[in-house]
């Protein structure tokens, strides 16, 4: 359980077990227990980050686990635009040209893929999971691809 996602997955499995048990309300109690602790540790992290200042917080992000915990609590020193742009740069060698069109107030992240290497569903989900990893606050990730080029042929004549 070395990532917040793995811990979250385990927590959800255990809560589901309670919900299927004799009293489904125990699942809500468990939910509240987890909320209590996550918020306590989140508040602790917030104070640590505040003390360290932006530079110190950026250094903390060298550790992937710490970085993902800062993301859980909205404490990452870089904003979503910067985080997503960097993630797209890392993806380029695998998926080709990618641009961040914008992040809506509705939490939808809009991207444009040049589509030079196609944009199948596997590639889409690769892009989406990369964006979600660095921007868990994203509600949805939309990848725009250009329409296929029309083949213009001249009529003989």
């Amino acid at each position: 359980m070395t990532t917040p996602d793995a811990a979250a997955a385990r927590v959800e499995v255990l809560i589901e077990q309670l919900r299927a048990g004799p009293d489904p309300r125990s699942a809500l109690v468990a939910d509240e227990l987890v909320r209590c602790l996550v918020q306590l540790y989140g508040e602790g992290l917030r104070r640590v980050v505040e003390r360290l200042g932006p530079e110190g917080a950026t250094a903390l992000c060298d550790d992937p686990l710490v970085e993902s915990l800062l993301l859980v609590h909205d404490l990452h020193p870089a904003g979503p635009r910067e985080r997503i742009t960097r993630a797209l740069e890392r993806l380029r060698p695998r998926v080709g040209e990618l641009d961040l069109l914008g992040i809506g107030d509705d939490g939808v992240v809009r991207l444009r893929a040049a589509g030079s290497r196609g944009c199948g569903s596997a590639q889409r989900s690769l892009i989406e999971s990369a964006v979600r990893r660095v921007a868990p606050e994203a509600v949805r990730v939309e990848v725009e691809t250009p329409p296929p080029l029309l083949q213009v042929t001249r009529r003989p004549g």
Binding site: P24, L28, V72, E137, V139
Partner: protein, 184 residues
């Protein structure tokens, strides 16, 4: 903003169905847990699931309101009006709950007195056991869902002052009756 994984624990919980965890709105239905007569918030499909009689440990709370006509609460020996009368189980005991600093105070209703009252007004036999109550104002009776009774009891408990509840509780009870009249 919430999101996947542990992020959902960093924000206040959204209302969820207590049976299946589906997110539900602030306005939602309830089911009654027969074991301890507590209410659980329910989504529409779960509520439907427990509408069938004898559907196990939970029973869906209906949302009908009816005016049942005249009923003399005092003839029942219920010490205070208003009071809610709920049948605990089919054909079993009748329990009256009266507003009190504890939310409600319960007392058992004399079966023979109830039978006399119901003979004069057969509509009093209308409520579904456990999930529908009769609200007795002293002179009139209304059929109300038990979740409305629980909500009123909670409001009474939080505003009770002094020996008789004070003006805030009187106002609550007046508003409740006014709301009842607009629904039937």
């Amino acid at each position: 903003m919430s999101g996947p994984g542990l992020r959902r624990f960093t924000v206040a919980p959204v209302p969820r169905c207590e049976l299946c965890a589906t997110v539900i709105g602030e306005e939602h239905r309830h089911v009654l847990a027969l074991a301890d007569r507590s209410l659980l918030c329910a989504c529409h499909p779960c509520h439907l699931l427990f509408q069938a009689p004898g559907a196990g440990r939970f029973r869906a709370v209906p949302d009908r309101y009816l005016a049942l006509g005249p009923a003399d609460g005092e003839a029942l020996g219920v010490p205070v009006t208003p009071a809610f009368v709920v049948a605990h189980g089919e054909g079993e005991r009748l329990v009256a709950s009266c507003p009190s600093p504890a939310g409600t105070t319960e007392c058992e209703v004399d079966g023979a007195a109830w039978d006399r009252l119901a003979a004069a007004n057969p509509l009093l036999r209308e409520p579904v056991a456990d999930v529908e109550a009769i609200y007795l104002t002293g002179r009139e009776a209304f059929l109300v869902p038990v979740d409305a009774c629980y909500a009123l009891a909670g409001a009474v408990r939080s505003r009770w002052q002094g020996g008789d509840g004070g003006p805030a509780v009187r106002h609550l009870l007046d508003a409740f009756l006014h709301d009842l009249r607009s629904r039937v």
